[in-house]
Symmetry: C2
Subunit: 178 residues, 2 copies
């Protein structure tokens, strides 16, 4: 049920927005935090409306609907933030592959890890670029968004170091085998 709360939270921070606006916000600021597709978002907005957590504040051109969080919605968000224990979902495709890399040749395994390093460096660069692009005008989004961004950096750096370490371990093992 977290898409629901991500939507509510963003709507509060943005002080009202359309589905289209929200979608962009998900792409830009929430890339490292929570993904959402267009279909999913529009569906959720309708459900949130039915449940009374948001309402259509005004309608604009091209069928645009500007949503706003209701009192009930603020309550729900607060309840979720403080009372619902976070559910940690652990599913990492890269780690999963690593687990089974013993089933291919050592050089193929090392190649896989090196590809991940390249991909990671690209993402780190993208993150740096994003950091410069973002308009940190909202006080809350700015403070907490910056914390999340720092997390992203630390996470990728940790991952990079671990990859290097893995390559070292692999090299060592293969050297011993000779």
């Amino acid at each position: 049920m977290s898409l629901r709360h991500a939507t509510l939270g963003l709507l509060v921070e943005m002080d009202g927005a359309s589905g289209y606006d929200l979608l962009k916000m998900f792409e830009i600021t929430m890339g490292n935090v929570w993904q959402a597709t267009q279909s999913q978002l529009y569906g959720e907005l309708n459900k949130l409306t039915t449940d009374g957590f948001i309402e259509v504040a005004s309608e604009g051109p091209r069928g645009r609907k500007e949503y706003r969080v209701t009192e009930a919605g603020h309550g729900e968000l607060r309840r979720w933030l403080l009372e619902v224990p976070p559910k940690v979902v652990r599913r990492d495709e890269i780690l999963l592959r690593l687990f089974f890399l013993g089933q291919v040749e050592p050089d193929e395994a090392a190649g896989f890890v090196r590809e991940q390093v390249v991909a990671l460096d690209k993402r780190l660069a993208d993150l740096g670029e994003l950091e410069n692009t973002i308009n940190w005008d909202d006080a809350n989004l700015s403070f907490y968004g910056r914390l999340a961004m720092e997390y992203g950096k630390r996470f990728m750096t940790m991952r990079r170091e671990w990859y290097e370490w893995v390559l070292g371990e692999m090299a060592e093992r293969d050297a011993v085998k000779e």
Copy 2:
């Protein structure tokens, strides 16, 4: 489609097993990597059989079915490992909450972060315990499993340090406000 490959990979490493055995293996060794529920696993085993990637090698007491990976299954696993680009899903409920912590009082927000630290310490302790429990007899599972475990440790440690840093940032901000 990764449950499929997690199942194939584990079946290869275990050199054949029942759904029940696999389920335990998922719980014990794959906790930090890939979660699976009982329903999901049994369903996937039947689909894998239909698709010819695994087969029932023998049947035991209580309707037990011992599965084994077929040639086609080995090929599929190899293909997935080396040719299918890993899909990174970024959804982190804790980070998501952090993003919106500006919407509750500062002390409530700090309380939330502190709770996460406690939960993390518990998981780190569990991981250490798990490390001692595991029977690292299979050469591949031992080598790659150890790499994955090291990842788990580094990940949690990074996270812990970041939480500390977050608490520091929060304290600083609140001090400035006075």
